[in-house]
């Protein structure tokens, strides 16, 4: 029991003390009595239990009485108050028990009587205040938990401290060059600007001049156009003038706002058609304007045309509108089912065509005659040839099958006829396209189109596209009605020919296929026909009419060429030409020509130009006569045997090289495996083919298209030892790496200063200087002075980024480094 009581006393004291801590001294004084008593009790109890009992009993009882008398209310109400103070006597009613932890003694129970007194006002106010915030400190946390919190706090603080360094570290890491020691006194020379600013006139004369220059109204000012005096004069306008001016301004403003509103409204219009129409009209207006300009100001017009040309060139160069993009491809997939998608794709193509044809269109506008058109076409061809920087005679540089315009004009049938034939061809093309459009699936279309475009690029074959345009657009048709009418006449005449043309084409294809099958060397020529075949298909007629015959020799020869391909050597092309226009064997010839696979013209295509060189003369020097004679003789013999079969040999060699370069199929078939074997047993072909491991398709050869060249495809093994084998780390692609080492660094290729710059070391240390480690004190000295916060540091970082070269210097002021 005593122990229990003891505990109670302790808890009580504890409570009192805690509250005392919170309320400071006054309470302590008040409670001192109780506390002391409790202490006494305590000590007494500690000393001797039984002896002290009898002594204290009386006192204690007194105290209890006194206290109980304090609270009269409760007594009156007859409430049982549970008390936690220790008592030696255990009442039978269990009024007070030691371990009734549930209810506490409240402060006002102890000092509530103060309310009734007038004294202790100071204490009372303090108690009142104290009661307002009766918060008690929590029990201390468990050690590990407390430590954890401590650690995290410490981490935060340290992080903050360390993070101050990050911008500096980054700056130093990213600096192109660091010169140690970083603390270097910045040397600055006074600039003229600063000199001017700090200038103060000292002598009388200087002062006078200074005043004139700076003080006067008439002096020019830096940022103003007018002097002060002039402005004043302007300001002094009459009232009428000012009013009228104001009116004018108001009107202008109103108009402006109307216009803005209109524009905004138009901008919101979502109709595609509206925009299309609008754009078209705009383009049309522009075109007209250019025409107008052409008349009035040719220079400006030229510039406009140049702009258009640039656009044209860009279009040609880019893949835009070529239906290669993601969108276009997706549309292509959809096109099967969706008419709109198809239309969209076609529109794109048309747009590209339109753009690529722009120049011609421009030119066409300026002239209306058909002859003119013809001429211009040729001109544009020539322009292309000129663009490529070569003589038009060189077929390597100009399009492969294009006409030699000059000679055409001389030798070919009159222009009209030619045109006729051309239109014929055009139309056949159209027809074919239409039919193919019906037959072929749409998936094939893009490919075809692609080829079309290629050809356009190569040959600047414009008229084809333009006719298509005509066909599609009625408007345009109306514009060029004259042309169409003219053509209508021909088309009537040529309808039959069209049909034959179609047939012819089919036949040709057939023959080609046949030839491919039948030829043993189909591998070589097969490809050329495969890939060049399209081109040929497209243009054959034209070439036959315009170029082929010019080049080709007599019919017999061509036939011979078909049989012995290499026989047709073309260097000696100056031979009598067949009058193509009237030649009845034209068709026949064409067909034959189509079967020619090795075209020696591909080897020696350039028309030789004659040099006015002087012929050697051989003087009669006796000593050398025999030698010269021998030379001459040999030369004569060689010349006689020229065109031997050098070309055939070469072709054969090339074929072999190509054959050798191809990866081969591996035949793993074993007779008798899984089947009956022996003599007379037929092997199932399917089974056999199953065992053949197909080789991957051969890579395109470097010398593809160069008929007179064989390039060795074997890799140079020796070079490999010097090459980089794996892409170095950090490079996205091989080309990226190769580009990064494209420029030489040495002094043989660069100026000395450039070499110094290119090879500058990352870190430079001055000889004989001590490099101190970076100190925070120095580094953040200034920032502290300015009371810079984190933002300030950030700003500095930005600055550092902008001017990395000054990074070192900036750091040096602050003494920062890693």
């Amino acid at each position: 029991m005593t122990v229990l009581r003891l505990l109670n006393i302790h808890t009580f004291c504890d409570i009192v003390q805690r509250s005392a801590i919170m309320a400071d001294d006054p309470v302590r004084t008040l409670l001192a009595v109780n506390a002391d008593q409790a202490d006494e009790d305590d000590s007494a109890l500690v000393l001797s239990d039984d002896e002290a009992e009898s002594d204290n009993e009386g006192q204690h009882r007194n105290l209890l009485d006194a206290i109980s008398s304090l609270d009269k209310k409760s007594r009156i109400k007859g409430k049982v108050i549970q008390r936690s103070e220790p008592s030696l006597q255990v009442s039978p009613f269990d009024i007070s028990s030691g371990d009734n932890g549930g209810s506490r003694v409240h402060l006002n129970e102890l000092v509530g009587s103060l309310r009734n007194t007038n004294q202790f006002s100071k204490v009372k106010t303090q108690i009142r205040k104290m009661q307002g915030r009766q918060k008690v400190i929590d029990a201390p946390l468990v050690k590990p938990q407390a430590e954890r919190i401590e650690r995290s706090l410490a981490y935060k603080a340290t992080k903050k401290e360390v993070s101050r360094w990050t911008p500096i570290v980054r700056q130093n890491r990213q600096a192109a060059q660091l010169v140690f020691p970083l603390q270097q006194e910045p040397v600055s020379l006074p600039t003229t600007d600063s000199m001017v600013k700090s200038f103060k006139p000292s002598t009388d004369l200087e002062r006078e001049i200074f005043e004139v220059l700076h003080g006067s109204k008439f002096a020019e000012r830096r940022d103003h156009e007018l002097t002060e005096a002039e402005e004043e004069a302007l300001r002094a306008m009459s009232l009428d003038e000012a009013l009228s001016r104001r009116k004018e301004l108001q009107k202008m403003r109103a108009l402006q706002s109307y216009h803005a509103a209109k524009c905004a409204r138009e901008k919101k219009i979502k109709s595609k058609k509206y925009h299309r129409v609008k754009k078209r009209s705009r383009l049309h207006a522009e075109k007209l304007a250019i025409e107008e300009l052409h008349k009035t100001n040719p220079e400006l017009a030229l510039e406009e045309i140049r702009k258009a040309e640039k656009l044209h060139a860009e279009e040609r160069a880019s893949l835009r509108h070529k239906n290669t993009g993601k969108w276009a491809r997706s549309k292509m997939v959809m096109a099967k089912f969706d008419d709109e998608a198809r239309q969209a794709v076609q529109e794109q193509l048309e747009k590209s065509r339109e753009l690529t044809n722009q120049i011609r269109a421009l030119q066409q506008d300026s002239s209306s005659d058909d002859d003119q058109e013809e001429r211009e076409e040729e001109e544009s061809e020539e322009a292309v040839v000129m663009e490529m920087g070569v003589d038009d005679k060189n077929p390597w540089m100009r399009s492969a099958l294009k006409i030699n315009s000059k000679s055409d004009q001389k030798d070919d049938p009159p222009v009209e006829e030619k045109q006729q034939l051309r239109t014929d061809e055009e139309e056949t093309e159209q027809v074919e396209e239409v039919t193919s459009g019906e037959k072929d699936t749409i998936e094939e279309q893009p490919q075809q189109k692609h080829i079309d475009e290629k050809e356009e690029l190569e040959e600047v074959k414009v008229e084809n596209a333009s006719t298509k345009k005509r066909r599609r657009r009625n408007k345009k048709k109306k514009e060029g009605e004259n042309e169409v009418e003219e053509k209508a006449d021909w088309s009537d005449v040529l309808k039959d020919e069209k049909k034959t043309g179609k047939k012819r084409k089919r036949r040709r294809k057939k023959t080609e296929v046949d030839a491919k099958k039948s030829r043993p060397d189909g591998g070589v020529m097969g490809r050329t026909t495969d890939e060049a075949g399209e081109v040929q298909d497209f243009d054959d007629d034209e070439t036959m009419l315009e170029e082929g015959l010019e080049r080709r020799k007599t019919l017999e020869e061509v036939e011979a060429a078909a049989k012995i391909p290499a026989d047709a050597e073309t260097l000696s092309t100056q031979q009598p030409k067949v009058d193509q226009a009237t030649n009845p064997s034209l068709q026949k010839q064409r067909e034959i020509v189509k079967e020619v696979h090795i075209n020696p013209e591909k080897f020696f295509t350039i028309q030789p130009s004659k040099l006015k060189s002087s012929a050697p003369t051989y003087l009669d020097v006796d000593d050398n006569i025999d030698m010269i004679d021998f030379d001459q003789q040999r030369e004569n013999i060689e010349e006689a045997f020229a065109n031997d079969d050098v070309v055939t040999e070469f072709v054969e060699e090339k074929r072999k090289a190509e054959e050798a370069g191809k990866p081969k199929d591996i035949d793993l078939f074993m007779p008798g495996w899984g089947n009956w074997g022996g003599v007379g047993v037929k092997v199932n072909r399917k089974k056999r083919t199953r065992f053949i491991k197909r080789a991957p398709p051969p890579k395109p050869r470097q010398d593809w298209g160069l008929h007179h060249v064989i390039i060795n495809e074997d890799k140079d093994v020796h070079l490999k030892t010097h090459q980089v084998r794996q892409l170095p780390k950090g490079f996205g692609s091989i080309s990226e790496f190769e580009r990064s080492i494209r420029a030489p660094l040495g002094k043989d290729w660069n100026t000395p200063s450039a070499v110094a710059k290119l090879t500058e070391p990352k870190v430079v240390t001055r000889a004989g200087t001590i490099i101190e480690p970076i100190s925070g004190e120095e580094t953040f000295k200034k920032s502290k002075g300015k009371k810079m916060d984190l933002e300030g540091i950030n700003e500095e970082r930005e600055g550092g980024k902008k001017d990395r070269r000054n990074g070192g210097k900036r750091n040096s002021k602050k003494g920062g480094s890693e």
Binding site: M334, S609, E639, N712, V717, S740
Partner: protein, 597 residues
């Protein structure tokens, strides 16, 4: 700057419409022009002085220009009291000059601030490259000299001018460069200039070999090897030259002392020296192409070309590829690393008589017995021009400025602009008495050396030589000490022969695996064998190990197949998904379709 230079000599001549005048050699007899043409006339002297100035770091050429600019600027500043710079920023750079030094497109590097590191470094390098190109383009200002050409008036033709006309018109020092060595006893002659154009070696068919400083006409040595001589070539410096004699090839020094006899190199007809690789390439009558590493004295490679006698040979100075011409009209391109020709080109239908390649490695001119001369773009291997000549050119030569000289029997003709454009007539012609057997333009001089039956003739061809020389590369005024330093430097910077190829930039490329190599690797991966661990208690008997091995390998194979199947399945699913995505807004009727899965 260049324009300023032009106005002093060249343009002035044009304006006065005087004929028969080479701007560089022209020495107007009257007093008035003598001052303005001074630096044109005394070219060699002036070159020397310039060379000296180069060392001291000042350029004479830039002086007048800077004066001009200063004056202008000064005036500007006087006019406006503002401190505005009338020419703000850096001086503009000519675009074409910049294009000359920009080596292809750079990488476009985007940087996120935090992930900078190596990317940032690369970006700064790109900037530096650009800066270097700009500076190099700016430095073109120092190339003050310009090679001029002869200009004819309307009624005249440059090809009608004789050598005497030209020699009469030019100053004495230049006129002295036209001379004739009459050596009719031992001809016909082959000849060769050193790379700096200072020294000449001539070799007669009948054994006469002479080396000389041709400008001062000082003879270095003169010997008779008492044997037929087919060809002669200087090695890397003027102290050594190789002579292809009847049987073997010999190397002599400049005093005529025999240094080496190369018995492996027999029956050599033509030689070429590749200066950066220290390789002497020889073509023999037995049909062998051989390479000698001169720095090591070892035969590097020997190929049987299988085309018979090899008597037409030249080198591409840009990529050190050797070109051989053959009797069947083909030209083959060789490197010492590959046994087969790098490329084969059918250029004529008859035998090829001569080949020449220009110094930039762009054009190749070939001539054949069929009396054609053809010009090819050797980079694309495509023909550019075909010329029908009065005779097949026995010798062809390119000058540093792109003139082409052709020897038609006993006539030398020089053509201008015949590669990219069509030339219609020769620029200059010169008729000799006898058949021409050797032809070479002298580097850095407007001189064409011609070896023939009667000896050697030096012709003046205005505009043939490069006007601005790089003394670090080739110094025509080299002293002995410089030569020694130069030799050491060249040896240190020797390019390994493995780097010879059609594309000289091949070293900078990443070597990629060929298809065969990839296949081989895959095969190897498949064939990796399982090696069973040893087990005890009789469980490692041969049958058991074999069984175990088979089992494991089978399992491997299965794994591979499974993986492949998985991949395929994934791929298929992905495709399907994509397809679905695409078809998401397909036809409205699609909803009635039967759904998969």
């Amino acid at each position: 700057m260049a324009d300023d230079e032009d106005t002093t000599g060249f343009a002035k001549l044009k304006g006065s419409k005087q004929t028969k005048r080479a701007p560089r050699y022209f020495d107007e007899s009257s007093v008035k022009a003598s001052t303005s043409d001074k630096h044109e006339t005394n070219k060699p002297l002036e070159r020397k002085s310039e060379d000296k100035k180069k060392k001291s770091g000042k350029k004479r050429a830039s002086a007048p220009d800077s004066d001009h600019v200063d004056r202008k600027r000064g005036k500007e500043t006087w006019d406006s009291d503002e401190e505005k710079d009338p020419f703000p920023g850096e001086a503009p750079i000519k675009e074409e000059a910049l294009a000359r030094y920009t080596r292809g497109e750079g990488n476009k590097i985007k940087i996120r601030a935090k992930t900078a590191g190596p990317k940032l470094e690369r970006k700064t390098m790109e900037k530096k490259f650009h800066l270097a190109a700009q500076q190099a383009a700016r430095a073109e200002l120092l190339l003050g000299e310009d090679h001029g050409y002869l200009e004819a008036s309307d009624d005249e033709d440059t090809s009608q001018l004789s050598q005497t006309d030209i020699a009469d018109a030019v100053d004495i020092s230049a006129a002295q460069k036209h001379f004739d060595l009459k050596l009719d006893k031992f001809g016909p002659y082959r000849m060769n200039y050193t790379r700096n154009g200072r020294f000449l070696v001539i070799a007669g068919r009948r054994g006469h070999v002479a080396a000389l400083d041709w400008m001062s006409k000082k003879l270095l040595c003169e010997i008779n090897v008492m044997e037929g001589v087919h060809d002669v070539k200087w090695l890397h410096v003027e102290t050594m030259f190789a002579v292809a004699q009847q049987r073997w090839t010999y190397i002599y020094d400049h005093q005529g002392v025999e240094l080496h006899c190369l018995k492996k190199f027999n029956n050599v007809l033509k030689m070429e020296f590749l200066p950066y690789h220290f390789l002497l390439a020889t073509a023999s009558s037995t049909g062998f192409l051989q390479y000698l590493d001169v720095s090591l004295g070892k035969e590097l490679a020997a190929f049987n070309v299988k085309q018979g006698c090899l008597n037409v040979m030249t080198q591409n100075p840009q990529n050190a590829v050797v070109h051989l011409g053959h009797a069947n009209g083909t030209v083959t391109l060789w490197s010492p690393n590959v046994k087969e020709p790098l490329a084969k080109l059918l250029s004529h239908v008859t035998a090829v008589r001569s080949i020449a390649v220009d110094k930039t490695g762009t054009y190749m001119a070939t001539s054949g017995q069929d009396r054609y001369m053809k010009v090819f773009d050797i980079r694309a291997l495509k023909p550019l021009q075909v010329y029908r000549m009065s005779a097949g050119a026995g010798q062809l030569a390119f000058s540093q400025t792109g003139l082409v000289a052709a020897a038609l029997g006993n006539v030398v003709e020089v053509y201008k602009d015949c590669c990219s454009n069509v030339a219609e007539k020769p620029y200059l012609t010169h008729r000799l008495r006898n058949n021409i057997t050797g032809l070479q333009f002298c580097p850095y001089e407007d001189v064409l050396g011609v070896g023939h039956q009667d000896g050697f003739t030096s012709l003046l061809i205005p505009g043939a030589g490069e006007a601005n020389f790089d003394a670090f590369e080739n110094n025509p005024y080299q002293t002995k000490k410089q030569r020694r330093d130069y030799e050491v430097k060249m040896l240190l910077e020797k390019i390994q022969p493995e780097m010879i190829g059609l594309d000289p930039g091949g070293v900078g490329q990443v070597s990629q695996l060929t298809a065969q190599e990839v296949e081989k690797r895959e095969q190897e991966a498949i064939q990796k064998k399982f090696e069973p661990a040893k087990k005890k208690k009789g469980r490692s008997k041969s049958l058991k190990t074999v069984q175990r091995t088979k089992g494991v390998e089978e399992e491997w194979r299965r794994m591979k197949v499974r993986q492949k199947m998985r991949e395929e399945e994934e791929k298929r699913k992905k495709q399907q998904k994509d397809h679905k995505k695409k078809d998401k807004w397909g036809s409205a009727l699609d909803r009635f379709q039967k759904k998969e899965n």
